[in-house]
Symmetry: C2
Subunit: 226 residues, 2 copies
DNA sequence: AATAAAATTTAGTTATGCCTAAATTATTCT
DNA sequence: AGAATAATTTAGGCATAACTAAATTTTATT
């Protein structure tokens, strides 16, 4: 009874799609090696898999030797499906089971591949169809469109600019805990106080705290300017 | 960082363990063919898998050619782990997402293999450590002991005996919906009115309804006599 | 343009977990 | 007991998805 258009994809393929989406969405090239690093799989294994995904019945990716892959319409839809599951699950785990934002990623990573569309609809409805996950990342809509993100990386701001943290693009537990301890969470008001050239450090005021942040961090925090 | 005692078992092996537990718990012999039928896997495949499970590092089953398998202490623990996940999940899906008792089984069947111990603890705590799932089946305790079920199959009762439905051992959606429509759900008070020998039908009064039930059904409904 | 370095692909293996067909063993019937 | 039947196991394959080592192609450097 499963629709022919949405033949069930293996967990591996779902993971490939998700990571290809993330790479290409950031403007990066989804090359074999980039994917291999991201998926923590050897490059030859990735080559084999992308070849398979390219020659699947409805192709999931377009693939040119030595050029990396791009998602087809089918592949993009499937990727957004997985990402929607992941982000809804993260929101659900925080809202109903008291997970903290640094604990949800790993759990969602496993659940995203096995929940039914019914489960997806139920948690979305129970939460009132949230727009963002606990890290502030946009949740693809039920019809699998990715809303447009209008925030800018903190790393692009300069002294006297102010704004609200919209989203933190990170999954690492340690980093997330550190950011939380500094008050760097979605919704927080910030003001850029200083900029050091060469090392690109930013001195940022959050609440009554002032902290110096390196590019490693400022590139992952997205701000809606005010 | 995963404890050596609880090396992660594959989803297939978890399913084998669960089905072996269910067969042996009901006093049935967990023969190759019985398992093959229950798991909907060919008999040769089952032979291969039980051989593997028997020669695993801490053996999960004891296996004698042509004699079927029994669980080792390790295997039993692992089976109860999966069953605890399944039943807690069913309860959770009903209590927090409004699933009906006939919808939960399939979803729990997939989730049971991927939730973390942390997730398990959180849903158990959130529900106040429930003793039974939505079908009334006992949930193994956190330290993986199966509580003792003292109810008896409805099929063993005779006219004038009364009791409360404790549990319905069924997963089939159609059957569960039918039983619900008759009020045959855990907690319902029933009275046996008539017994037809040879076909073993029972005429049962539930609330103000009276129904005739065949062995197929009465053997799956468990009663606490009163 | 030639060479060195990096990225990518091909070739050949491995582990899981399933399958069918054929052989074997156990059980039941005459 | 001997034959028929049923249950079980062995043998040989296949699909998926990983791996390493070696070959190839592309890109960067001199
Ligand atoms: Mn995440
Ligand atoms: Mn979905
Ligand atoms: Mn169930
Ligand atoms: Mn558990």
């Amino acid at each position: 009874m499963k629709p022919l258009t949405q033949k069930t994809l293996t967990i591996s393929i779902q993971d490939y799609l998700k990571h290809i989406y993330e790479l290409t969405e950031n403007g990066e090239n989804a090359s074999t090696n980039a994917l291999a690093r991201k998926l923590r799989i050897s490059a030859p294994s990735v080559t084999g898999m992308v070849q398979k995904m390219a020659s699947a019945k409805p192709a999931l990716v377009e693939y040119q030797k030595h050029q990396g892959v791009t998602l087809t319409k089918e592949g993009r839809r499937a990727a957004l499906e997985v990402i929607r599951h992941h982000r809804l699950l993260e929101a659900w785990l925080v809202q109903t089971l008291g997970y903290s934002w640094d604990e949800v990623h790993e759990e969602a990573e496993r659940l995203e591949h096995v929940i039914s569309e019914d489960f997806e609809r139920r948690i979305a409805a129970a939460m009132g169809h949230p727009l963002r996950d606990p890290h502030g990342e946009l949740i693809p809509t039920a019809d699998l469109k990715m809303p447009i993100e209008d925030s800018t990386p903190l790393s692009a701001l300069r002294p006297t600019q102010t704004g609200t943290i919209q989203c933190v693009k990170a999954a690492d537990t340690g980093l997330l805990r550190y950011l939380e301890s500094l008050g760097l969470v979605p919704g927080a008001q910030i003001e850029v106080k200083e900029y050091s050239p060469f090392d690109h450090n930013l001195t940022v005021k959050v609440g009554r705290k002032t902290t110096v942040l390196g590019m490693n961090i400022t590139s992952k925090i997205y701000i809606e300017e005010s």
